[in-house]
């Protein structure tokens, strides 16, 4: 028994050995696991709204991604949600007239926008109490690109990153100052903090 244990240890810890007169070829393979890490790095995430125009002071999100893999193994997805009073969190991204935008909702529980209010903005802004939309500019640093897609798998609009084979880089989403037309009205958008949540994920493909 001691011999068997000794033999096993020799296999694991010793250089290749030949046994007797036989010739043995052995290939040693080192496996480097795929590594992915995501970090929220934005610091300009809060601001104010001008009551008379609805213009915000300029906010934005920022994420850093490290990866030894790429889009063949992962979907790198940027999503956003806004809280509603009747349907929980819903997709906050929209796209109208070739403008990509994000919807902010009042964050006070008794002032949450309804899902109808969010839908109104996404379809044709007219009446949308307690929800305000702003155009967004989404870009990358070091990576190849990031584009808007519309896919039911992600509840509609979302962004997908192409790394271009780069192992580390940044994803930026800047919220422009002026609101989308007919989404801000001081007669229907109540005072309070308006917010949307950005989520960047590396989702491993099956």
């Amino acid at each position: 028994m001691k011999k068997i244990i000794f033999g096993l240890l020799m296999c694991l810890c010793s250089p290749l050995q030949s046994w007797g007169a036989d010739t043995l070829d052995e290939t040693l393979t080192t496996y480097i696991p795929s590594y992915v890490a995501v970090e929220a790095t934005g610091t300009n995430t809060s601001g104010t709204i001008d009551c008379s125009t609805g213009a915000n002071s300029g906010v934005g999100g920022e994420f850093r991604l490290w990866t030894t893999s790429d889009e063949t193994d992962y979907d790198f997805v940027l999503q956003s949600v806004v809280q509603t009073s009747d349907a929980g969190q819903v997709n906050a991204y929209g796209y109208l007239s070739e403008v990509e935008f994000i919807i902010f909702g009042n964050s006070e529980a008794d002032k949450y926008p309804t899902s109808a209010s969010i839908a109104d903005i996404k379809n044709s802004p007219y009446q949308n109490p307690n929800a305000i939309a702003y155009p967004v500019t989404t870009s990358v640093n070091n990576f190849e690109s990031i584009e808007l897609y519309d896919d039911a798998e992600y509840d509609g609009y979302h962004y997908k990153l192409a790394t271009g084979g780069k192992m580390v880089g940044f994803i930026y989403q800047n919220v422009q100052t002026n609101p989308i037309s007919n989404t801000y009205d001081y007669g229907s958008d109540e005072s309070g903090v308006y917010q949307a949540t950005l989520m960047f994920s590396a989702l491993r493909k099956p």
Partner: protein, 211 residues
């Protein structure tokens, strides 16, 4: 034979070890960031002259107005707001509070702008106990029949404070109209021949600042 078994066992162990290493490295694969922008409280008040009836004639025999006078303000607010409605009319020492309460009713005193009343005459009326119209020349008072709210604040009722000489209005978020109506009947003992011909007026103000 034994060597062969050892070799097989060694290779199997190496395989297990290698399999263990194929586990994906552990790290955060998603991150969240909340974007927030704060919208402060805001109220915008506009005098709606088109929706108002700001002038009319006085019947010289009775002192009655020919028609009700109305003053309308449009309010836009994005939060609950306490607003204050008051009136000012000029006497010798300057603008004075023109709303007053008498026996449970609210009145407004109109002062001649051509022959400005004395402070004594004006005070005689707004004190609410005028007993002789000869004591208050160039001041005529009419009852405020009400301050009506429509729109977002229609469920609220303005309350008059005789201490502050103003109506207190709770405006709700949204669009509200506040219409003040002055009835035609002249207040007792405030109109007589001592009121000289000319224009009588009071200025109604709606504001977020209390008197």
């Amino acid at each position: 034979m034994i060597r062969r078994k050892l070799l097989v066992a060694g290779l199997l162990m190496a395989g297990f070890v290698a399999t263990g290493f194929t586990t994906t490295a552990q790290a955060a694969t998603s991150a969240e960031q909340i974007l927030q922008v704060e919208l402060g409280g805001f109220v915008d008040i506009e005098a709606d002259d088109k929706g108002s009836c700001l002038s009319g004639d006085i019947d010289t025999d009775t002192g009655k107005l020919e028609k009700d006078l109305t003053s309308k303000f449009d309010i836009k607010a994005n939060c609950k707001q306490d607003l204050y409605l008051y009136a000012k009319a000029g006497s010798a020492s300057g603008p004075q509070n023109a709303f007053y309460e008498d026996d449970g009713a609210v009145y407004v005193a109109l002062a001649s702008i051509d022959n400005v009343p004395t402070d004594s005459a004006f005070n005689n009326v707004v004190a609410g106990n005028a007993s002789n119209a000869d004591d208050n020349p160039n001041v005529i008072a009419y009852q405020v029949s009400g301050v009506a709210l429509s729109g977002a604040s229609s469920g609220n009722t303005p309350v008059f404070s005789n201490t502050e000489k103003q109506y207190e209005i709770n405006a709700e978020p949204g669009l509200t109209s506040a219409t003040t109506t002055i009835a035609t009947d002249v207040a007792l003992n405030t109109y007589s021949y001592v009121d000289t011909a000319g224009t009588y007026q009071a200025t109604v103000t709606l504001t977020s600042t209390s008197l």
